[in-house]
């Protein structure tokens, strides 16, 4: 091996396969859990499992765990800005009717509103 390999961490094949297996298992778990009614917690569980899977991909497949931490910082900055984007938007859209009651109206006169057929 050359000097180059001293700086590149080579992950064993079995680590990749173990992480892959874990990702498959979590996929099955998330599908099964979705058929159990947990009320509002379904989305929490689904997102928690998805986040664990995403972190496994990022840390092991994308080597963030082994690489220079600069890349991890860039990735985290992305997530922080996404969180700001999402949460500030939600503060607005979820609370609009607190200030003014919302009445349904179409922007275009000929727009179709699909109403509930009960």
């Amino acid at each position: 091996m050359s000097a180059h390999s001293e700086k590149t961490h080579i992950i064993p094949v079995k680590t990749y396969l173990a992480i892959g297996g874990l990702l498959m298992a979590l996929t099955i778990v998330t599908v099964l859990v979705s058929f159990i009614n947990l009320g509002g917690f379904n989305i929490v569980v689904a997102l928690a499992i998805a986040s664990v899977k995403a972190l496994l991909v990022a840390f092991f497949f994308m080597h963030l765990y082994y690489d220079n931490k600069t890349y991890l910082i860039i990735f985290t900055i992305g997530l922080i800005f996404l969180t700001i984007f999402l949460s500030l938007t939600m503060f607005d859209t979820l609370r609009r009717d607190v200030v003014d009651p919302i009445e349904a109206q179409t922007i275009r006169k000929d727009a179709i509103i699909y109403q509930q057929e009960k």
Binding site: I11, T27, Y71
Partner: protein
């Protein structure tokens, strides 16, 4: 500076290969950051309309095929494993193995797109389409066309990324088959891998949010 000996792939403005590699990787991560924010806009789109129409989202999501979605998740995760193994093969100088893993990856990507094609064409037939193209009747709740706007926007942009990914992987296969890479230089393969893992990572969130609304 021009007469010192270095490998042909080392650009003259880099001090050494390590610096070149790290710079490329950092550039790639900045690009991935913009990708996260690009998809982020659609995730916010999703969050706004799901929070406004929770029951309609639940009823509309029942129209999606969980089996096809699950198979596609497994296909994409498998392709992530194979491209990771391709890069590992590059690192230990097993170019032939790397090419085989890359070919498997591109085939899995194609499988994903074929399954997606069947899902899309089924929805086109039923008129489960975004906005004014929506003609389907049979979903309880107001404005179910919004769900399909969200569905097609998110899976469409993701599908486009898969297609682009396939193109890039094919390009990398061609270069690898010509013997342009070694354990000393495989940056394009590594960057392709990072991009492909991000495509997988996005799908990891799209799948439960669209197919598995509890």
């Amino acid at each position: 500076m021009s007469n010192h000996t270095h490998a042909t792939h080392l650009a003259h403005h880099f001090a050494d290969e390590e610096q070149q590699r790290e710079s490329a990787k950092m550039g790639m991560w900045v690009f991935l950051l913009t990708e996260i924010l690009l998809f982020g806009g659609l995730f916010v789109f999703y969050a706004i309309y799901r929070s406004w129409h929770p029951d309609m989202f639940y009823n509309a999501h029942l129209q999606l095929d969980v089996v096809m979605g699950t198979i596609n998740t497994v296909v994409l995760i498998t392709s992530s494993i194979t491209i990771a193994l391709a890069i590992r093969s590059m690192q230990v100088d097993e170019q032939k193995k790397a090419v085989i893993f890359l070919i498997i990856t591109v085939l899995l990507a194609a499988t994903f797109m074929v399954i997606k094609y069947f899902e899309y064409s089924h929805k086109f037939e039923l008129g489960q389409l975004p906005g004014k193209f929506y003609t389907f009747k049979g979903i309880q709740g107001s404005n179910p066309h919004i769900f399909f706007s969200v569905y097609f926007a998110m899976t469409g942009l993701h599908g486009l990324h898969v297609l682009i990914g396939m193109g890039v992987i094919l390009w990398v296969i061609r270069r690898a088959a010509r013997g342009e890479f070694s354990s000393e230089y495989y940056t394009p393969v590594e960057m392709t891998g990072l991009y492909w893992h991000l495509v997988d990572l996005i799908w990891i969130f799209l799948f439960p949010l669209l197919y598995l609304i509890g």
